[in-house]
Assembly symmetry: C2
Homo-oligomer: 447 residues x 2
């Protein structure tokens, strides 16, 4: 008989402080999830602050300096998150004028901010220059010209990086190496676009080229793709050095560090991966006859993803005949695709556990669905779960910190859940639950 | 040489009042989109009120009475929309407690509301009973028992329908007929679950069974699937009549009426489809030896989808080598997957046109992308567009009224666009543009 593992909280999947007590109740940050559900209602995002900070520190150590690690705001940004990132000494990536605005309003030092985006607005570029943002990553010639004009007007020299397409696409353990990338970001190495952009920046008196940037994918567990990208990009560093006599002090290899969403996935060994990447950069720099640049990285998911769980209340369930002989149990929870679009959008898989008690039921083919009026509203498509999961139970889904709340909608006019942080037995509200009045506050006129 | 049709506004795709004037500017509801963009900024949703109302009327005529047509709130609901639906005499479907709350706050008559959902909360069910909502559509036995208890407590008899799975799945022109449907909604006809639910309702003194409900899919252009579903469901009507001596006066065949998102799609002939469906229901009722029930339908997309366009400002563009010989033009606009997730979520296709002037450029392989920090942020994947589309132009995407704003997010902290309605030269703000302050208003504490 296989071991009954549904009551486990796999350490490589669940937040670092998650424990189950003698009554079967799961605690995070020293706080019982039952207590949080009673106080805040469900669905509820619970963020383990210690987990978030520990991952910041691990990344900082692996990449030889907190400032080399840029937290990617797009995964999830609030002023609290910006403050944590600042306190840990990390740098910050923003990808829109509003992400920049929120970071600045949180008091994040502009010099440690890097601005991304394929279609930055004039206002966004202007704020970058005015606030002296550390790096602007240039994506295209129109933006290059616009930023040069804005910097000239302000009488400054704006530090920039150029985003290049190295022709490497990596996902999980697969890597595709091509010459041409049919996607919107950056300048191609292969067709000369990157070289043209580099020379245009070097020729501009109001832009200062500090390095090149590339990003090869997401959910990567292996250094191979990063190393190949680094090799290709560092060839260009060599050419920039030889032909333009310019030394580029930094190399930004982007994000994409994988996390274990489910128990069968291996956790990423950040330290080993970083060691391999940094060694590869040293070697390829040597091959190119240049001094090795400082390597910058941009983890978002790998920092905030595993810190957070979403707690749901189980509602109705039913058992459905899927053929003459087979059945599937459907368990509905009180959220769904409005608070987590990733299963519907990417086919993402998650790990869910009962958190208000120990389960004892027979493991049964189960689908966990949300409460939206759409058959694709599925959180967990096909897992064996205990058949005693029932109305009123609390089910929590792990690894919802990245692209969960950040991509949340008001579909079916669901109001967005509250987000609370827990640490050493203390609870803090990060974001209060939205209300119908919040939704109606956008309506104009009298009703 | 093929005709240059990019400056056309295909009538079966664009809002009914859309016209292009002599200067090449597109007007909707008698208002220039250039004027709206200047006043409200972009991205901007523009709703053609006359188009919305005309589609309500066409549906009402086709299905022999406005009250038989239930507008599906999930496609898009605000108090303005609820008022229009009310004024046109249609009924209204809601699929959550918050959709119900907004409808009631708009003064929508509860008797004309039908409540849907696979996991209705106790509060939602309680409000349905207290407010005397016209129909509650029962999805599962847990809900059936909960509603019976609530109605008993209130001392009333709540009219209900039972949602059944007829084993028909239809999408566009494809129809799949099966016995077993592996999805979350309703009770299966094939395995006896539907019969058990019907008898449980009939046995309850506090529930009144008025009919059965089924929903077979979305983007349907053909009556075949509806007719097969009706045949299967009406067999059960016959059995209910014969064995329980109960006459069910209504039959709800759900929604799913297709719209033409692109010029090459055929528009749905609502009148012909309705005639065919109603005739099929009459025949199958006769076969079952019962009086034909009144047919109810639930269009959402087919009413609000074509009424609305999203106006974007074109930002940066670039031409990318996709192979040694081919290129693709990338045109970026100032919105993207935050205001329209459907291309990324469903691979949905759309029709986009230049609306501030006539285009004259050479038709070129083009991808229209948004401004989000994600390579999947694509609005139009692969179309031939004029190569003179350039920074500052206004590009509008048609058919964004359904599941556009309704599924919008704040990804990358993009604030949601304004929604304006136009009619006879008048402009009304339906929803104001969100601000960063709106986003921060959910943050708790001092910063």
């Amino acid at each position: 008989m296989p071991e009954y593992s549904f009551n486990d909280l796999p350490a490589h999947v669940w937040p670092q402080t998650a424990t189950r007590d003698d009554d079967g109740v799961v605690h995070i940050g020293g706080v019982a999830l039952t207590e949080l559900a009673a106080r805040y209602g469900t669905p509820l995002f619970v963020v383990d602050e210690a987990d978030f900070r520990a991952r910041c520190r691990a990344m900082a150590a692996a990449f030889h300096g907190a400032a080399n690690v840029h937290y990617a705001s797009k995964a999830f940004l609030t002023r609290t998150i910006a403050r944590w990132v600042k306190e840990e000494g990390l740098s910050l990536d923003v990808a829109s004028g509003n992400e920049l605005a929120v970071a600045l309003r949180a008091g994040f030092p502009a010099a440690r901010i890097t601005a991304h985006g394929n279609n930055k607005s004039t206002q966004f570029l202007r704020t970058c220059v005015e606030e002296k943002v550390g790096h602007v990553v240039l994506d295209n010639h129109g933006e290059l010209a616009a930023l040069a004009d804005i910097a000239a007007e302000a009488g400054v020299r704006q530090p920039v990086m150029v985003r290049v397409k190295p022709g490497v696409e990596a996902h999980t353990n697969e890597m595709i190496a091509t010459a041409h990338e049919d996607q919107k970001f950056g300048f191609s190495l292969a067709d000369g676009a990157a070289w043209n952009a580099v020379t245009a920046v070097v020729d501009s008196p109001h832009l200062e080229l500090v390095g090149l940037h590339c990003h090869i994918g997401s959910q990567i567990f292996d250094a191979g793709g990063f190393n190949l990208a680094a090799a290709r990009v560092l060839e260009l560093y060599g050419r920039v050095h030889d032909e333009l006599d310019v030394r580029l002090p930094e190399l930004d290899l982007g994000g994409g560090y994988g996390i274990a969403y489910t128990a069968d996935q291996q956790p990423l060994d950040v330290e080993a991966l970083a060691r391999e990447m940094l060694e590869a950069v040293r070697e390829h720099a040597e091959d190119a006859g240049i001094e090795a640049p400082t390597v910058l990285v941009e983890p978002g998911r790998a920092i905030v993803g595993p810190s957070t769980v979403t707690v749901y209340t189980v509602g109705f369930n039913k058992t459905i005949s899927t053929s003459e002989t087979d059945t599937r149990r459907y368990v509905a929870v009180d959220g769904g695709m409005s608070d987590n679009i990733r299963p519907a959008l990417y086919g993402a898989q998650y790990d869910a556990r009962l958190v208000n008690r120990r389960a004892a039921g027979k493991l049964t083919a189960t689908r966990v669905v949300g409460s939206h009026c759409e058959s694709g509203d599925i959180l967990i498509s096909d897992e064996d779960y205990p058949d005693d999961l029932t109305t009123g139970d609390l089910l929590a889904v792990a690894n919802t910190g990245a692209y969960g709340y950040a991509m949340a909608s008001n579909y079916n006019l669901f109001t967005r859940p509250a987000v609370v942080t827990v640490c050493d037995g203390e609870v803090t509200t990060m974001l209060r639950r939205e209300t119908v009045d919040d939704l109606l506050s956008l309506e104009d006129g009298e009703f």
